[in-house]
């Protein structure tokens, strides 16, 4: 009995367990523990470890980029019995999540002080969520997928409800928790169905490890019509659609984006959505690829609905956080277009296009949310377009950052967003998804309207009088913002412009 069990373990991990493969995630966890301990023993009035955390995340992100290019392109390695697979792409995704964690803690430093809530626990939660996201980039197994996804989600529930004295933040938190919990349960039910079908020895190609993506793919290929397989696949996709906020799982977006503290909104909109897409790409081009005949029409329909809903809902929106959330749904639609193309063509370059789009989306979104958190007053959730009137005159620096980033989101030529959208449309055309591309083009045209409306308000609408500024939620000029925040926002905008001109490093 003992030797048999030992034999099983040995077959699971032939080279032993290599903890060093997830050293970055462990380091994040240990740092989070350190921040927590330091906060517990901090004397009132003394400073916490917030600055160090921010620097730590930035350095780690750069380190991961360096590591990524040390790995030869196309090479990949498996760890933990195939649960984790690492390649240059996963290493770059790790850097992506670390970078968005860095930006979130930086914005958090600006905003939390205004709201009068402590920052140490915020940083701890961001660190833990980032560790979960980094694992999600590398998972090739449904157990780890669920655990890492929930690590991220549970940290996120607390982060959304972080401003304890604000009813809107708490309300957003409980709304996010119930709906995200529902989607996790659906995902789990789907995993259970796939596990049940794939472990059944009466079916051809039954798996020894029914959770592993590789074995499941073979099994699903042999049993494409099985009801359990189809139901499981559908439920798993439902769970992932929630994370990327695709129609019909987008109901939570408006309220949660509005109520969450601005840095958390940015983190939800960028990192959490990116994680959803990484998982979706890995699942539909991995274990579920044999079901392409059923899934491609489904995903295309979802993409069309998502693009239409996001753009039309964002049209009349006055609250800027809701506007970002609803237009973010439309961006998820464009990204789904790339996923569909990747599935239809069964090649890698549309996936690279999707990841590139996510990166440009990160740059533009964080710049805009950065401007938002500088401008926000007492009530974080009540910023409207009117608060941006005359921004260009009052602070041309913030106005410029806003203009560049909005241009990038709208897809205006010199910015990175244009090139990224172009790649996705080329992918859709190459895959003969003409209807999808047509709806996408319509969506882009609509989106130009509301993004430019925002820009118009910032540039042409005259500045409010001093009295109105006093009455409104906006702080009077000059707008205070830290040196480092300004530097980082400038860098983001610069990268946005540079990537618009040069993207030769992409292996498209």
């Amino acid at each position: 009995m003992l030797t048999q069990a030992a034999e099983t373990f040995r077959s699971l991990a032939p080279n032993g367990v290599d903890w060093s493969s997830i050293a970055p995630e462990i380091a994040l966890g240990v740092w989070a523990l350190y921040v927590l301990l330091r906060e517990a023993f901090r004397k009132p009035g003394s400073r916490g470890a917030a600055t160090f955390t921010t620097i730590f995340l930035l350095l780690f992100s750069l380190l991961c980029v360096r590591n990524a290019f040390a790995i030869p392109a196309g090479a990949s390695a498996s760890f933990f019995g195939g649960m984790i697979e690492q390649s240059r792409t996963t290493e770059l995704l790790r850097a992506f999540f670390l970078f968005s964690g860095f930006l979130t803690t930086l914005l958090g430093g600006t905003l939390l002080k205004k709201q009068g809530v402590p920052q140490a626990e915020f940083d701890v939660l961001i660190l833990l969520a980032t560790a979960g996201l980094m694992l999600l980039a590398q998972v090739r197994d449904f157990i780890l997928l669920f655990v890492a996804l929930e690590t991220m989600s549970i940290s996120m529930y607390v982060l959304v409800a972080y401003i304890r004295h604000s009813a809107s933040s708490l309300e957003a938190g409980i709304k996010y928790l119930t709906q995200s919990g529902l989607s996790s349960a659906l995902l789990l039910a789907g995993i259970a169905l796939l596990f049940g079908a794939a472990g059944n020895t009466a079916l051809p190609g039954a798996c020894a490890d029914p959770f592993s993506f590789r074995e499941l793919r073979v099994f699903i290929f042999l049993n494409q019509g099985n009801a359990f397989v189809l139901g499981g696949a559908a439920l798993v996709l439902c769970g992932l659609f929630f994370k990327i906020a695709a129609v019909p799982f987008q109901i939570w977006v408006g309220d949660v984006y509005q109520g969450a503290p601005t840095p958390v909104t940015a983190y939800l909109g960028v990192a959490s959505k990116a994680a959803g897409f990484v998982l979706l790409v890995n699942v539909v081009t991995g274990p579920l690829l044999p079901l392409r005949g059923v899934l491609l029409p489904l995903l295309s329909a979802v993409a069309i609905l998502t693009i239409l809903f996001g753009n039309l809902a964002a049209l009349g929106q006055q609250n800027v956080k809701r506007l970002m959330g609803l237009s973010g749904i439309a961006h998820a639609g464009y990204l789904l277009m790339g996923v569909c193309a990747a599935m239809a063509l069964n090649v890698d370059w549309p996936i690279v296009a999707v990841y590139f789009y996510l990166f440009t989306y990160l740059l533009a979104s964080y710049a805009i949310f950065g401007v938002m958190s500088v401008l926000s007053g007492e009530d974080d959730s009540a910023q409207t377009l009117n608060d941006y009137a005359g921004l260009m005159k009052r602070d041309s620096f913030l106005g410029g950052i806003l203009a560049v980033s909005l241009g990038s989101l709208a897809g205006i030529p010199p910015m990175a967003g244009f090139v990224a959208k172009l790649f996705l449309f080329i992918a859709a055309f190459t895959a003969h998804l003409y209807w999808l591309a047509a709806v996408g083009l319509f969506g882009v045209v609509v989106s130009i309207y509301y993004y430019f409306n925002w820009m118009r308000v910032a540039v042409f609408v005259p500045c409010k009088t001093e009295d109105e500024v006093e009455a409104g939620t906006l702080k009077a000029a000059p707008i205070a913002s830290g040196f480092w925040l300004r530097t980082v926002l400038t860098t983001l905008a610069l990268i946005t412009v540079c990537l618009g001109f040069w993207q030769g490093f992409l292996a498209l």
Binding site: V158, E171, G196
Partner: protein, 107 residues
Amino acid sequence: MHAIALNHYLIVAALLFATGFAGVLVRRNLIIVLMCLELMLNAANIALVAFARFNATPEHPLMDGNAFVFFVITVAAAEVAVGLAIVVALYRRRSTVMTDDLTALKK
């Protein structure tokens, strides 16, 4: 008398899951919504354990199905702890635990 087979467990799991799902969508009391979420996760747990038991062979013991359940239990506990904490904080501010009264975030 018939032996209790995989299907019986799956039917129980499906019923529990449906109850939870309907509860989350229909009920207005947040505490009950949280309970329904737990119900759904535990329904999936029953299915996992039943599958792991009935599909196991001496060559493929399928222990990872059982191991997964431990993780799900932990996740469920963490989720409900956070949920209750938010509900308590919300109750202190708004003196309500009904979803109909959550109206701070209307357009």
